[in-house]
């Protein structure tokens, strides 16, 4: 202890304290503050860069997800459209078929009606022709028959017998 005290030099102690404090303040002002500031700034910069990279990545992911969603939507829409078209087609075919059958049946009906009326007309015509023909024949027959008096009388007789008065 005595040796320690003997070695202690007040002058050196004061010099050391003063010089060290001077060094401390000079370094603080001109070195440590700028150095730590620069290092901090750099670290902040790195942190920010990493963060923004992360954000960009996230955004990218979001964008991709959006794209995916859009694609999905488009696909769904396409499918829906296709389905609709298919349905429409089927419906149209269906409708056309229905219309056609109705039309057909109408045509058939008209044809049948036409056929029936033609038939009627034909029958009527035939009837009148047959009547005319039979009148002609009857006339000829009558004429033939009436050329002979007996026969005329006979005929009247038969006719009268036929035509009963009722």
């Amino acid at each position: 202890m005595e040796k320690l005290l003997g070695e202690f030099s007040l002058g050196l102690f004061i010099f050391q304290t003063a010089l060290f404090l001077l060094l401390l303040f000079l370094l603080k002002k001109y070195a440590w503050k700028p150095i730590l500031g620069a290092v901090n700034e750099r670290e902040e910069g790195i942190k920010n860069a990493l963060e923004s990279a992360e954000n960009a990545k996230k955004e990218m992911e979001n964008l991709q997800a959006d794209n995916q969603k859009l694609l999905q939507d488009a696909r769904l829409e396409r499918e829906a459209m296709l389905k609709e078209a298919r349905d429409l087609k089927n419906k149209m075919i269906e409708d056309a078929k229905g219309e056609a059958s109705i039309q057909a049946s109408k045509i058939i009906e008209q044809a049948q009606a036409a056929i029936a009326s033609e038939k009627q007309a034909a029958i009527a015509d035939l009837k009148s022709q047959v009547a005319n023909l039979s009148v002609d024949i009857a006339e000829k027959v009558v004429r033939e028959e009436l050329s002979n008096k007996d026969k005329q009388l006979k005929l009247v007789e038969s006719m009268l017998s036929e035509a009963t008065l009722n």
């Binding site: 603080k28 070195a31 503050k33």
Partner: protein, 371 residues
């Protein structure tokens, strides 16, 4: 394999050397004893601060000692300011006459004497002459200034290189930047805490590099021993002490004067505190004192060991002894390089730890809930 071969070769080398080893000259015991005493004095002298910057000394052919170096200014306060060159002492051999006062060096200290330079000693062999107040620019002061300039230029350069290179260090600073970051991330922040560490960073960084650089300078053949000087370590420890206690929070002082807090009723404290508080108060002083002694003792011891081992080379005066001493001195030098850094680290680390105590703030509410 490689290792084995090296070991074998070294052994062979040493054995061969020992064959040639012989005492170069026969010396009687008295001469050896005198030489031993001289070496001891030499080592002692080199551990102390000195008034001139001595680079090396040698013995001339006529037995006269020659010193190569340069003198430094001696500044004394003894009935007025006295400034003169230390060359006036002629390395302690002559009396320096300044005005009408006479001064003489004795064991590295300046004493006021008469014209003939008589120094009287008491029974414990201490000089009883008057010691004038001494503010000399000694070798230690010169080294402190050199280290300070070096540090300022180095770190100013580093700080500037950031501005110039867009936040990236360039030049020598690149080597020191990771060390600065280490001090910040592994010394300051873990011990002091994220919130308050910035306040202590300038001191921690300055003290770390100051001690490290001076320790390294101590290993150079310049023979400086600044960090192994008790005045320097005392000054550094005093600054840590002042900084700790002036920045101490309420919690820090509470911890000293009310260490147990609410965990003990008042009557318990009445018994324990007369013992506890003095211990805590003592601790406030012991902590920086341990810093002071640790750095001083480590550097002093390192220098003594190293110089003694180098001295052994001259003591043995044999090939083998010389080689072995050289090997040992070399190994110790390597260890000392590590110690230089280690002591700087320990001083900074412990300072940071003490600052951490001073800066700590408990959340008392939380603590109350925890109990």
């Amino acid at each position: 394999m490689q290792r084995n071969r090296i070991i074998k070769l070294t052994t062979l080398f040493i054995l061969t050397l020992s064959l040639f080893s012989c005492n170069l000259e026969k010396e009687d015991d008295a001469t050896i004893a005198a030489k031993k005493a001289e070496r001891k004095a030499y080592i002692q002298h080199h551990l102390q601060d000195s008034y001139d910057f001595n680079l090396f000394s040698y013995e001339k052919d006529n037995g006269e000692k020659a010193h190569i170096g340069f003198p430094l200014p001696v500044i004394l306060w003894d009935d007025g300011l006295k400034v003169f060159s230390s060359s006036k002492f002629h390395h302690g051999e002559t009396v320096a006459e300044v005005g009408d006062s006479f001064y003489k060096l004795d064991h590295g200290k300046i004493y006021k004497t008469d014209a003939t330079g008589t120094i009287s000693y008491d029974e414990t062999h201490h000089a009883t002459n008057v010691k004038p107040l001494d503010f000399s620019v000694t070798k230690g002061v010169v080294m402190i200034i050199i280290t300070g300039l070096l540090m300022f230029l180095l770190f100013r350069g580093l700080a500037r290189s950031y501005a110039k290179n867009g936040g990236i260090a360039k030049g020598v600073g690149r080597f020191f930047e990771p060390i600065i970051l280490y001090v910040r991330d592994d010394i300051a922040i873990p011990n002091i805490g994220e919130k308050k560490y910035m306040k202590y960073m300038p001191f921690l960084l300055t003290v770390f590099f100051f001690i490290w650089f001076l320790n390294i300078f101590g290993l150079t053949p310049l023979g400086v021993n600044v960090t192994g000087n008790i005045a320097v370590t005392a000054s550094l420890a005093l600054l840590t002490f002042l900084l700790t206690n002036f920045t101490g929070t309420k919690d820090y002082w509470m911890h000293i004067f009310d260490p147990l807090g609410s965990s003990l009723p008042w009557y318990g404290k009445l018994i324990l505190y007369p013992i506890l508080i003095p211990i805590e108060v003592l601790g406030v002083f012991i902590k920086p004192f341990s810093l002071l002694i640790r750095l001083y003792a480590n550097m002093q011891a390192g220098h003594i060991v190293l110089m003694s081992l180098i001295g052994l080379i001259f003591l043995f005066r044999t090939w083998m002894g010389g080689a072995m001493s050289f090997g040992l001195a070399f190994a110790i030098s390597l260890i000392e390089i590590l110690v230089a850094l280690l002591q700087a680290y320990i001083f900074t680390m412990l300072s940071a730890l003490y600052f951490g105590f001073a800066a700590e703030e408990h959340d008392h509410h939380e603590e109350a809930h925890a109990h």
